[in-house]
Every structure is written in structure tokens, then in C-alpha cells.
Symmetry: C2
Subunit: 467 residues, 2 copies
């Protein structure tokens, strides 16, 4: 008989994630009898999603206890696993932010993201502090962004056991499918793509034992042109074999995987919509454009409408609507591995501790790990080539350290300095004006208060005094 | 009786440097009897400078043997010290390069500097390789740029004992003088400014035992405005107390010293002439403008004219013209310390080996060191604040590593990537065009041949194929 466990889900108001989790649990007999405690501050969606999850479980005749609460402490009580998928501000805030920064000359650009991270860092830290009090032995599976900086922050500040997860690494299967390779199981590919979250590079890949890189090279030679001319992406994120991805392969010598392809570090693919469309297909120009984001939000809204329709129709079959296929999410298989010793290899974000050469021990890296009842055992990976390290990994590491330092010190000149790093910033004044406007956004009162000029007289006062 | 030594000077055609060296030697009785071997490939200036050096020594009745050669091997034979002050390409090439990059939208900007470093790296490495053969026990005192990347390269590749030198740290005395403090001796200030060459930060400074930072703060409060309004620099490099320097103090919490003030990393002070004039005084806008450089070159030409006049007038007194004051250069006092145990504290560039926290051991740092007959003993310095490390030191370290990696691999996409890092680059095409034009400059044939597209099909071919 399996041991029943308790899983707390923070930010359970995300329909896609929460219903996917319940599906995976229902389809994992090992975890029968478990207690899933959904927690969210959204009082509209939470009961609806909880009810649907209960119906899904009941229709399948599964023994799963599903409850909801708006009290985080209650959710954490006796938890064995805490899944944090919450986003402090959400998609609509992100859209408002993009409008503000666009006025200053930044098109879907980073550099103004600090306030967003500030609120998510506060949220993440409050979850781990609560866990230290209430369920200090539970595992935290961090499933909301920013995974890289957030997991580094939490693992430096707390002894809670933390695993950060992302989907990006599945991009490697996207490569294989585009090459025309048949994928019946994840095991058809043997591969590694170590790095930092959203910055991982395919060091090797074998398709049923055959090196896939020569197949990629041949595809580029013989089929890429036609693919780029004719492929019409269905999903905004379908850019794994775009010109932009292959161009990065040409520059760095390794394929960028998943979100790596759209990294803002390579700003030159992202200067404007036309440039993005050139590199990431005409239809959306990748996921970060003003024609792609509405599509993404529309998807979320359609999902929500479907949920509402199901919820208002108690006779409808939830199983029929959601299907009986497991998602590709790693949370449930990881829990199954830790609880029931169903050993597997996963792609996880954990403190480096010597796994990826050249990166400090206390920086969270994305690496393959074997997980079983004994715990999480990262695999020592081959070092990334120096060019990838010096051009893509180390600069990303530094940006993360600056983000954490700013969060710690509240030094406003760091926000200005960050804005100055954007290739769309053309003057000091532009950066100062950007930070000022971003701080003035409704809902940013706390962060505006937090970030001060700490070195005596301020850079901005200085500026005014000088002119 | 002092032991006579042999000093080889590579690049001795620099009048200022070579005559200064001879002055310092003549005014250091400990080094009487020494043999100075001037080497340069410039056959016009070399004999003239050598002759003047000999006359200076003779007029003072000093026992100094001074000879010249265009054969580096001959100069190195039996050398105890090798001073390398050579620049592979020189000021006129740098000016031509600035014209080229200006056409692409870069005003006195970096990012296109790689070919220059390539030739200097070749020169530096050929000197150390020759030294390994001819005078393996000699000290190399590297006195030509780039000190940071060049010394890191050489100390990684060779066991030759190397010290890199610069003048920038004397900027700290410029601060004191502007504050109105009387400086009778270098010992009037007790200070440290560790970091990387051209990137050093004043961690503390005491004027005759009194903390100088509160004096700086008071000066900013009460006198800076008037100073900025009325000060007219005589020298283009006189920017130690400019608005730009003080603004950096406001951003980073420590005073930037010497060339640090004009660092291209802080690009926003350097976008155009008017901006430079605002931050670095109206007259020149700092040393890196089209109104400052001619002044600098004019100074060099006047010096050369003076040299020629003296050389053609065998009855003139060279001592009267050059004076009898020691220069501020550290080469001769360092030699005196190593040979005759005249122990002093110097500012040197040497491999870190744990002296500056957070920097790898094999990266050359600029730090204070005690030098005596036993050798060079760097002083463990206080760590630089995280903000200075993450915003100024680490990014500079990465840029250096990329420069060395490009020199090693000959990967052309690295040059394009570097150009893409400039805040004056607005598109991928602009960077490609810049690199192409820079490589096409006369005299760049070797470097153009060296840098290839190494990852299969090239980024540029890719580009053409795609468009």
C-alpha cells in the first residue's frame, strides 16, 4: 500500500496547472489516497477549479482528497510537498508594464523587469519562511518564474529542500520532430542540455543511439530553407527550429533549447516586430510580440471559459473534456520518485555544487538529475564550451546577482544601471525616466518606497544639481 | 658596491618613456654601472634617443652604459630586466580606426578594438617566448597596453616573472590637490585602490592620518559646483574630479581612480562630444574626443621636435632641457627594490592568487604590493563592494576572457558578438558591417585571415542565405 501524502499547491488558481496536476495524480496509482490542498488568493476561480478537480478524480473512481483554502498556513500544515506556481502580479500587470516601457522606446524588452521580480521574490521568500515554521521537512517544488534568480535566492536564504522546474528542455523533442524522427517515448532521445534556466545548451543528443547533430546539420543544408518558408506555427512558442535558433547554433556551436531561443540576452533578434518575424516566423514573431501575446492571453481566456462552462454543468464529464493523458509536467513523477522510489532522470534547477564547471556552488543551475527515494542526485555534466560560458552563461549569472543584490540593498542606482544595460537605451536620461515611470505604475508603491538612492546624494539629485 | 645590471627596453623609440627611464636611472646612484639596451624597429628615432640618453648620463657624470639595437634577441641577451613599452600599431593607426568606426555610428567607442589587441598580443607573446629562450630568469616589466588582458595572457602562457605597470593610480593625488591638500610626498596619502587595470576603486584614503572621504563629501557639497563651472583643464586626462567622476562615486559608493573615470563600460558618459563635455569639462571632454586627441598627438609631436632640435645641437645641455627631477614612473624604483633591497610599496598588475576576493587566481589584478630583494608581495586587500564587483569588475573580467578566447580560437562570430555588446549597436547588420570594414583596413590582412567562421556554416553566410 502506498503511503498517502499531502501536496500543497500555492497559486492553484491557474486552471491549466492545477487540473493538469490532478490528472497526473489520478493517473499515478502509486499516489492514491493523497491529499491535494489548493491555495490561492483568487476567491472566484479557486472553488471552481477545486470542484472540477474533485469531479475528475471521482469520475475516474480515484481516491484523492482535494480541498481548497485561501489561507496559506492551512495549506502548508502537514504538507509533504509544496508546489509554488504563483505569480505575484500576473499577465495583465505584465501587459501594462510593456505599454509603459514601450513609450520609452523598449519593445518587449527586459531591463525594466526589476519591480516584477521584487514582488515575486517577496512571495517566494514568504512561502519558504512559512515552510520553515509549518512544514520544515517538506520539499518545495518551485514552478513559477523567475526560477533561476528565485531558486538561487531561496536556496541561499533557507535550508528548505527546493527543486525548480521549467518546461523549456522539451524543446529537444521539438528538434527531433522537425527532423522527421519518430518519437514514441522520451527515451528515444538521450541528451543533455545543462546551463541556467532559460539558458540551456544541447551538449549532446542521440536519437535511438545515433548522434542527432549531423542530422541537424543535414536538415539545415537540405530542408531548412523550405521549412522556414512554409512553416506556420500553431503555438506562439513554436520557435525551436526557427532561423533565430539555427543562427544561434551557428554562433555558439550548440543548439539553444526551449526558452533559450528567445532569450533577451540576444537582443538583436528582438529589436522590433519585423526583425522578430524574420527570425521567429511571420505569424507571431515568437512569443514576445504584440501579435503573439494576445493569442496567448486568448488561450488562457478560452481555457477559463471552458472551465466555467464545465463548472456550471454538473452533468458534463470532466474526464471527457480533459482527457486521460498525463501532462509532460515533472511535478508528479518527481513526487512519485521521492515517495515511492520510482527512479527517473529529470531536468531540475538546483544549487550547482560543482555539477556545472565554472559556476559558483551557490548558483542554481539547470541540469539532469536522477531522483529516487534517496533524494535528488544531479549528474555531473560536461563543461559548456568557453564561448557559451563567456557570452551567454556568465553574463546571465551576473545579471541574476545584480537582481538579487538590488533586492537586498534597495539601491535605486542599480535599477538605473540595469536599464542602462539595455541596447535600446541611448542615454542616461532615458534610463532615469524609464525607472521613474515604471516606479510610478499603480501597484508599485511598495517597490517605489523600497528603492532609494543609498550613496549619499543620489544620482538623480546629482543629475538635477548638475544640469 | 652595487651590482651592475642589464635592462632591455623593447619599444624604446618612445622619447618620453626612454629619456624618463634614463633620468630615473641617472638619479638612482644604486644603479650606477648598469647597461641599458634600447631596442626598437624605428630606425629613425632610436639612434637619436639613444644619443640624447648618453649625453644626459655623461653631462651628469653618471656611469651608465647605453646602447641601441634593432635586434630584439641582442637586446634580451643577458638582460636582468626587460621593459616592454611597445605598441604594435600606434597612435596613427588608432586614429584611422576611429575614423572607420565613426562611419558606422560609433564615436570614440570600444567594441571594435579586437584587431588592435590581436597585434599587441602577438607582440607580447613573442617577447615572452624570446625571453624564455634567451633570458628566462629576467623580470618582464610590461609597460604598454593592454596591461590587463596582455598580462593575464602572458602569465597564463609563460613562467616568466611579469609585473604590469600603469600610471592611473596617481589620480588619488589629483583628488587631494583639488581638495586643496598639500602634498609634499607620496606618503602624505595612505590609500588603496584595488581592481583591474583601468578599473580601480578607492576603498580608503587617509591624508596624514585623516579620512579623506568626508573631505570629498564636503567638497562636493560646498565647492564642486564652482569648480565644475570654472576649472579649465590643461591636460586632456585631467578628469579625476569631473562631474563624471563624482557621478560614478554617487553610483558606486567609491571614487573611481585614474583611467577608471573614462572607462568605456560606463558608455552613457561618452555617447557624443556634447555629453562628454558635460561630464568631463568643456575644453576637451576628457581624453577621448576629436578635440582632445589632436592635442595629445600635438604634445607627442612637440616632444619629438624638441628631441630633434636637441639632437642636432651637440652643444646644448640635455640635462638643462630635461631637468633633474625623477619621473613618477615605477620601473626604476621597482628595479632598485628587487636588485638593491630598497623596499617600497607599489601599485602593480599581477595574477590575483587570492588577493582580491571573488576574482579567479589566474586573472591579473591591480593591487598594492611590497617589493624588496625577496620579490613581489601583493597585499591582501579588502574586498570591493558587491555593487562594484557585479557592475564594474566582473563584466570587465568577462570582456577580457572573451578577448583572450577570440585570440585563441580565431572565431569571427566573437568579434561580431563583441560589436553587438556596444550600446551604439542597434542591429545585427550594423555589427556585421562594422567588423567587415574594420577587417578591411590596410594592415589588418593578418587578422582578417585569422578570424574565421568556425561553427560550420558562418553567421554571415547564414545571414545571406536567409535574407
Amino acid at each position: 500500500m502506498p503511503t498517502p501524502i499531502k501536496i500543497a499547491v500555492i497559486g492553484a488558481g491557474s486552471a491549466t496547472f492545477s487540473l493538469g496536476l490532478v490528472k497526473d495524480l489520478c493517473l499515478t496509482p502509486n499516489l492514491a489516497g493523497s491529499f491535494v490542498h489548493f491555495m490561492d488568493i483568487n476567491e472566484e476561480r479557486l472553488p471552481m477549479i477545486t470542484k472540477l478537480a474533485q469531479r475528475y478524480s471521482q469520475e475516474l473512481g480515484q481516491d484523492l482528497r482535494i480541498e481548497s483554502t485561501t489561507d496559506r498556513h492551512e495549506a502548508l500544515r502537514d504538507a509533504d510537498f509544496v508546489i509554488n506556481t504563483a505569480d505575484a502580479k500576473g499577465h495583465y500587470h505584465a501587459a501594462a508594464m510593456r505599454d509603459i516601457i514601450a513609450k520609452h522606446g523598449y519593445y518587449y524588452s527586459t531591463g525594466a523587469s526589476v519591480p516584477g521580480s521584487y514582488y515575486n521574490f517577496n512571495l517566494m521568500m514568504s512561502v519558504v519562511r512559512d515552510m520553515e515554521e509549518i512544514c520544515p521537512d517538506a520539499w518545495l517544488i518551485q514552478s513559477g518564474n523567475p526560477v533561476f534568480s528565485g531558486c538561487t535566492l531561496m536556496t541561499r536564504e533557507s535550508d528548505i529542500k527546493i527543486i525548480g522546474l521549467c518546461h523549456g528542455h522539451y524543446g529537444v523533442y521539438g528538434i527531433a520532430r522537425t527532423l522527421g524522427l519518430e518519437i514514441n517515448s522520451l527515451k528515444d532521445l538521450t541528451w543533455q542540455a545543462p546551463g541556467l534556466n532559460h539558458n540551456v545548451w544541447l551538449t549532446f543528443c542521440y536519437y535511438r543511439g545515433q548522434d542527432m547533430y549531423p542530422m541537424i546539420d543535414e536538415w539545415i543544408e537540405t530542408k531548412a530553407d523550405e521549412y522556414w518558408r512554409t512553416h506556420v506555427p500553431e503555438r506562439t512558442h513554436d520557435i525551436q527550429m526557427s532561423k533565430g535558433a539555427i543562427h544561434q547554433y551557428m554562433m555558439y556551436g550548440l543548439m539553444p533549447i526551449g526558452d533559450t531561443v528567445r532569450s533577451g540576452q540576444s537582443w538583436w533578434y528582438h529589436t522590433d516586430l519585423a526583425t522578430k518575424q524574420f527570425w521567429f516566423f511571420d505569424k507571431f514573431g515568437g512569443p514576445d510580440t504584440d501579435i503573439a501575446r494576445p493569442q496567448y492571453v486568448k488561450g488562457l481566456e478560452e481555457k477559463l471559459a471552458m472551465i466555467k462552462r464545465l463548472a456550471s454543468d454538473p452533468k458534463a464529464s470532466v474526464v471527457q473534456e480533459l482527457g486521460q493523458e498525463k501532462t509532460r509536467e515533472q511535478q508528479v513523477p518527481i513526487i512519485d520518485a521521492l515517495v515511492n522510489n520510482v527512479e527517473e532522470q529529470f531536468e531540475v534547477n538546483i544549487p550547482n555544487n560543482g555539477v556545472l564547471a565554472g559556476i559558483p556552488d551557490d548558483v542554481v543551475v539547470e541540469v539532469p538529475a536522477i531522483i529516487n527515494k534517496g533524494g535528488v542526485f544531479p549528474m555531473q555534466v560536461e563543461p559548456l564550451p568557453p564561448k557559451v560560458m563567456y557570452e551567454m552563461i556568465y553574463p546571465n549569472w551576473l545579471a541574476m546577482e545584480r537582481e538579487l543584490l538590488a533586492y537586498k540593498t534597495g539601491d535605486r542606482t542599480q535599477l538605473i544601471w540595469n536599464a542602462l544595460q539595455s541596447n535600446k537605451t541611448h542615454s542616461y536620461e532615458q534610463a532615469v525616466a524609464l525607472v521613474k515611470d515604471v516606479m510610478g505604475v499603480e501597484g508599485h508603491e511598495e517597490v517605489d518606497e523600497f528603492f532609494k538612492f543609498v550613496n549619499g546624494e543620489s544620482a538623480m539629485l546629482m543629475e538635477r544639481k548638475l544640469r
